[in-house]
Amino acid sequence: MTRPGSWLRSLARRVCDPSTMERLIDPAIADLQCEHGEALRRGHVWRSRWIRLAGYIAFAKVAVVALSRGSTRTVRDWAGADDRALSRTVLFSFIATLAWSLVFMLPPVWDSLSQPALRGRIVLWLVPSSMSVALPMGVVFGILAGVRGRPITPRVRRAITLLTIGCSIVMVGHVGWILPAANQAFRELMFGGPLTRGTNELRLGELWQLAQDRVVIPLTVNRRAFEFHFRLALAFAPLALGLFALGVAAARRRASGVLGIGVIAFVSCFAYYTLTYFARFEMYFAPFEVSEHVPAIIAAWSPNLVFLALALLLWKTQTHEPSAADPSRLDDDPRSADRPVVPQA
């Protein structure tokens, strides 16, 4: 029979350092096992079950304290350079997202100068629509700037991938609910009264309902399904563009200058949104009559698929060059942050 806490202990050994195991985890598990065994020897089955439950709760408390103190092997082994790369990525992504939001909002805000009473609400309702494009672009800029000149270790790669997934999850909520509501509020504000909602003002659930509706409306069935999948695919732009940017950064042999980063990021985003525009244009105007033959889901997700495929290709084609500054080595020396680890040409 497995002793209580054995599985928890083996799990803790994977993340906690030896000192934490010796001083916090093992004493808690040892006491639990001893008390549990004592209760079973006396025939107190229900007491042994209570002891097991109480012991698990105690273990959870100990584990939370250990994790919050940074006593885990994962945190201790996290190299200083990795931490700086991730911090820079997050910081530059935030700054770039903010900057692009302001850029996209500038023209309509400028136009609203003639309506000072509405300016505040115009800005408020424009923020979500500018964010829907600014966030993916900000992520691209942030990744390229954040990992510039630094080795992309597996830890950094995992952390940035998780970051892009997190941004995409946030975007699903944004484009699914916040953006349609903001669009409708903006339209009604400019019109000065209630308006019937168009497809851009429908929530994700309503778009799905529209795609299932068999009532004949001006849009074809394929186009209705396209609207739903297109909205969802846009939410995953941070993931597709972010992984592509990570692949570009990893494949480059030398650090790009600021201008180079800007050009790469801008071209990437321009190419992505050109693909989305083309997919939408083809679906609605069908110059190549593709819309009748290509499933809506493929057409809508094609820009994401293209960029994910490119990211995969970049990861596969980059070669690993072992050197004295091998990224898999631990390196907590703060001076190493500025030392070029990739041989400069």
């Binding site: 002793r3 202990r9 916090l24 040892a30 006491d31 001893c34 065994g37 109480a54 709760i57």
Partner: protein, 103 residues
């Protein structure tokens, strides 16, 4: 100018643990929880004991489990001489400051 060593602090829970250990000699973590009448909790007692060991108030050693029982060896705690002095000093200060409590 040489700086004075910082005066060790003794929070209430640590004082309770030291009190129990000085009275009993040496105890396991769960024995301390049982003896404290629920003032100490099962999970956090180990964190407190680890902190007290860092401060030098207590020491610990591993005790092998009996051969027929198996399982992990248990850690048993006992007060150090420094810990006994700290407890004694705090008790003395408490008695001087609150004479009515000492009655």
């Amino acid at each position: 100018m040489p700086t004075a060593s910082p005066v060790p602090t003794l929070p209430p829970k640590e004082a309770l643990i030291l009190d129990l250990l000085v009275a009993e000699g040496e105890m396991y973590g769960l024995q301390l929880v049982a003896a404290s009448k629920r003032k100490l909790k099962r999970g956090t007692v180990y964190v407190t004991l680890g902190r007290m060991e860092d401060k030098g108030f207590i020491s610990s050693r591993l005790e092998s489990a009996p051969a027929d029982e198996g399982g992990l060896p248990r850690r048993i705690y006992e007060p150090t001489a420094f810990g006994r002095r700290v407890l004694s000093a705090y008790a003395h200060v408490a008695r001087r400051l609150t004479p009515e409590l000492a009655r």
